[in-house]
């Protein structure tokens, strides 16, 4: 039996501990769905699933939904989502900036602070999602790199 962990850090520090970026996404927004919207959303998702396309960061809006897909899948989805009686926008060349922080939903104000920091850079956020340990922010690829750099510089290791 050894006393092996003297003065060793046991838990990750609170606050942002890593920022990374992943590219080659497309953001798809569907809006203006006919009521009942919950059923119409299912029809959209059925069509997407029928194409064998996996979606990320599904978010519901009052008259539609938004989600991310691998950029390569956009051309697969276009025909499936046309003639649907709804508006569909395809935002291509998107990247996801992932901001990691342990237990971030329980750290007061942390998620709002990260979003606020992104908006301060002047970038437009297309889409967003959170998990217990990371925030995912979808942006145009050309601004994502700068956002990731700013977040690293201002938030990683910063006290909360």
């Amino acid at each position: 039996m050894a006393n092996r962990q003297v003065e060793t850090e046991f838990e990750k520090r609170r606050g942002v501990n890593k920022v990374e970026m992943r590219g080659n996404f497309a953001q798809i927004n569907v809006y203006g769905l006919t009521p009942p919207v919950s059923r119409s959303r299912l029809s959209v998702l059925d069509r997407v699933a029928a194409c064998g396309v996996s979606i990320d960061f599904l978010k519901l809006t009052s008259d539609g939904l938004g989600f991310c897909v691998d950029q390569k899948q956009v051309e697969v989805l276009r025909p499936a989502l046309q003639d649907f009686g709804a508006n569909v926008t395809y935002l291509e060349d998107r990247s996801v900036v992932l901001v990691h922080a342990v237990n971030m939903r329980d750290e007061e104000g942390l998620i709002a602070r990260i979003v606020s920091s992104v908006l301060t850079t002047g970038a437009t956020i297309d889409h967003m999602g959170d998990m217990h340990d990371r925030l995912l922010i979808v942006l145009e690829s050309k601004s994502a790199e700068n956002v990731a750099r700013v977040l690293k510089a201002t938030l990683v290791g910063s006290p909360i």
Binding site: M1, R4, Q5, F10, K12, D46, G109, H127, M128
Partner: protein
Amino acid sequence: MKSLVMKFGGTSVSSNEARLRACLRVISAKEKGYCPVVVVSAIGRKGQPYATDTLIGMMREIDPAVAPDPRELDLMLACGEILSAVIFAHTLKTLGHAAMAFRGGQAGIRTDGVYGNARIVSIQPTSILRAINDGSIPVICGFQGVYVGTDRAPGAELTTLGRGGSDTTAAAIGAAIDAESVEIYTDVDGVKTADPDYVNNAPTLRVVSYDEVAEIAHLGAKVLHPRAAEIAMKFDIPLWVKNTFSDDPGTKVVKSDEFPGRRMTGVTHSGKLIYLQFDLSGIEASLRSELRGYIYEILYTNGLNLFMTNLSPQGIGFAIPRSQLTRFQELFDGLVAFLDDHIALFSIGAVPSAGVVAQQKLLARSKPCANVQIDMTENCSMVSIIGHEMMQEAGLFVRVLRMLDEAQIPVLQTSDSELSLSCLVPESETERAVHLLHSAFAPQAVE
């Protein structure tokens, strides 16, 4: 000599009889050649005299309008585990086994200085190891440590680790003394595929990965605290969840690469959320980005916790804990934002409050004023399915949403990760949603 950390939760030490069972488990481990190290929670659950929630209640009932000082509250809460550890150690002594109770600080647990939610930064287990070498069974207070500030103040400050802190203590002590394994004893047979209060025949998972159990715990399962799983994973310590009151073998928590290949793990729920949607459609599109920045700045500076954040061209949305609703209402109902030559006036709900109406009248005399309505849905909960290498499957989202739609359970928002998919639903529908998703997915969870 091989050591074993055995942590007993509140129900496992809630009565003399329960404590005796726990002590016999400790003695049995010792007789098998282990050096047991015990970690205990406070005695019992809410309503029982020394339970953590009871102690919190004693402070709050003095004047509900005055929040207790976090430092003082930590001093108060730590008493629950101190009582528990001393009684447990004494029980072992009465059974003929040398034992010694330790506060968190005496066990060498040092934390950061965040009262009520401290994180462990180091452990110097010298006193624990000395007790073991002297033939004693150390009984350590869970949930607490000490913060040694940089101001050279005499004595360390007592801190508590937040909810589930005793699990965290057990895993960290296990890491510090290089334990052979850490066993978390509770009043259920292990990690279940759903909350047994909702699904009474929910099967016990025999093996789960650290990642899965951390995800399950973060999304509402109370059987094991995620920080404990994270520490065990980091230090590669085998972790078990077992029942003090049965001989069920329990659940073993293993590394992902030892994962047995199961697909769906279970269904969890966590509640007491308020869903808020800001309608920005009345604001000129060119001003919305600035307004969003203003909103998030307020949320950040006032420490509001956001769940299920989302954003669309016409608005933003998120959920907050119910405990923060009053703070949110005070901040946003009647809030005025100045945007170039426009004014945005925030109001919560479809019918403006008297304060908002008065603001509208005043502001109408100055610049053009647009209303930002905030729709509020109270009493929401998050129901999640958790699985391994499952969430990327095309069509899974639609399957879940259809199931809930056909049962007429409204889904207000969703979120997803590599391991989970969550839906925000009305709290009144939580149990039905858990049942539904469990019956559809959980059979895949058990080998």
